[in-house]
């Protein structure tokens, strides 16, 4: 298996996103650099809208994470409820 990853700018808006990603993906590893967090995960990584909403206490549109997104690697499967990276083939 190969790794997928996603990197965010580190700020007030992304902290709950990162927390949600790590809670939903126990196999993921966060690598903190100055002003940036890169999350690596073996095989696949999923970001769930519901988990983020619980943490921030308001409605969240998954498109909002694009504002602070730096880069991703993996095949992206995205709908209203989740944002999934994987290597399906």
């Amino acid at each position: 298996m190969s790794k997928v990853f996603i990197a965010f700018q580190l700020n007030e808006d992304t902290r709950p996103i990162i927390e949600a990603v790590l809670a939903d993906n126990p196999h993921a590893e966060a690598l903190e650099s100055p002003a940036m967090v890169k999350i690596d995960a073996e095989g696949s990584l999923v970001i769930k809208r519901e988990t983020i909403e619980e943490l921030i206490g308001r409605k969240f549109d998954l498109q909002e994470l694009q504002i602070n997104l730096i880069t991703i690697s993996g095949h992206l499967d995205e709908d209203d409820d989740q944002f999934k990276l994987s290597w399906p083939n």
Partner: protein, 329 residues
């Protein structure tokens, strides 16, 4: 000359304030956590209030409800001042543009006479009820304990003023400044409004702040908002008065949002101890009767022969909500 660029990562010595770290561990805290937890002053009160010398300035004994940790009453919306003002500013913009459109296109003029009169009779005098809501919630933020609950109560108090202002504006749009005098007169002298006025005035003199929270935010709002901004709203829309629905949009939205917050408070407080649960359930029973009595003439006026089914629905919905919150009512 060769220049090497490298990143130096500097680990901060601490991520947040000590009192936040004691609760959540030393990691970056959200603005809500930093602006809420353990902000309440707990010690070093030099003088007792002259108007209540048996209590401290901030005292947990100002209510019969008791909590081990008052910060368990947290706000699911996570409103601190910034988040709250941003959310409300957005809603205010939306509401403003609805009002502007109605005023510019003269949409108020095509509201059928019966619906216009209904809005003037029912919605506009409600602004006096909203003022009562403002007073009650201001009282809670002044005498309550723990920033987790006093903070959103102050926001809630200000939101009530906002609703009162929207109701005033509805009166102005539909009938000009005279609408307000007529509504005030109905509030002071109209037979239909006297039970409501009596109830609102009775809650103004309560001393136990959590009792006010239950009486105002759970019972009065929980029963009246669905009636006025859901059932009555459908009546307006169905009878060609969509303009009125546009003007009450904020209230409907706001009620859905705030009821989640109210629910979270009641649920946590009732789950804390059997004493709390019994106390809150008693308050609900105590205040439900006068509120239903106060709403009955208004509902009869607004819904005519459908009034009974609206009353039944309203009570059933409210009972289900209370049961879900763990109350025995």
């Amino acid at each position: 000359m060769q220049i090497d660029l490298r990143t130096v990562s500097i680990k901060p010595l601490r991520h947040t304030f000590d009192h936040i770290a004691r609760r959540f561990g030393d990691k970056p805290a959200s603005r809500y956590q930093e602006g809420t937890y353990d902000i309440q002053q707990t010690d070093i009160f030099h003088y007792r209030p002259m108007w209540e010398p048996e209590l401290q300035l901030f005292d947990k004994r100002r209510t019969k409800v008791q909590m081990k940790d008052w910060y368990a009453l947290k706000d699911p919306r996570q409103y601190y001042y910034g988040a709250w003002t941003i959310a409300r500013a957005r809603q205010q913009d939306a509401a403003d543009s609805s009002f502007e459109m109605i005023e510019e296109r003269g949409l108020a003029g095509i509201v059928p006479e019966a619906q216009r009169k209904l809005a003037l009779d029912i919605l506009v005098p409600m602004r006096h009820v909203e003022w009562g809501g403002n007073m009650g919630n201001s009282f809670i933020s002044a005498y309550g304990y723990g920033t987790a609950i006093t903070q959103p109560c102050l926001y809630h108090a200000m939101d009530h003023l906002a609703v009162a202002q929207y109701l005033t504006r509805i009166g102005l749009v539909l009938d000009g400044p005279d609408a307000l005098d007529t509504a005030k007169d109905a509030w002071m002298n109209g037979a239909m409004w006297q039970p409501m006025r009596r109830h609102v005035e009775n809650t103004l003199v309560l001393q136990d702040w959590f009792e006010i929270f239950v009486a105002q935010n759970l019972v009065l709002e929980g029963l009246s908002y669905p009636v006025f901004y859901d059932y009555l709203d459908s009546e307006f829309s169905a009878n060609g008065a969509t303009a009125i629905s546009m003007m009450t949009r904020f209230m409907a939205e706001w009620a859905t949002e705030t009821s989640k917050w109210v629910d979270a408070q009641i649920k946590v407080a009732a789950a804390e101890s059997p004493e709390n649960k019994a106390m809150i359930s008693d308050w609900v029973k105590q205040y439900r009767a006068p509120v239903v009595e106060a709403l009955t003439p208004l509902i009869h006026h607004a819904f005519g022969n459908k009034a009974d089914s609206v009353l039944d629905d309203m009570s059933a919905q409210f009972a289900t909500r209370c049961t879900k919150l763990g109350l025995s009512v």
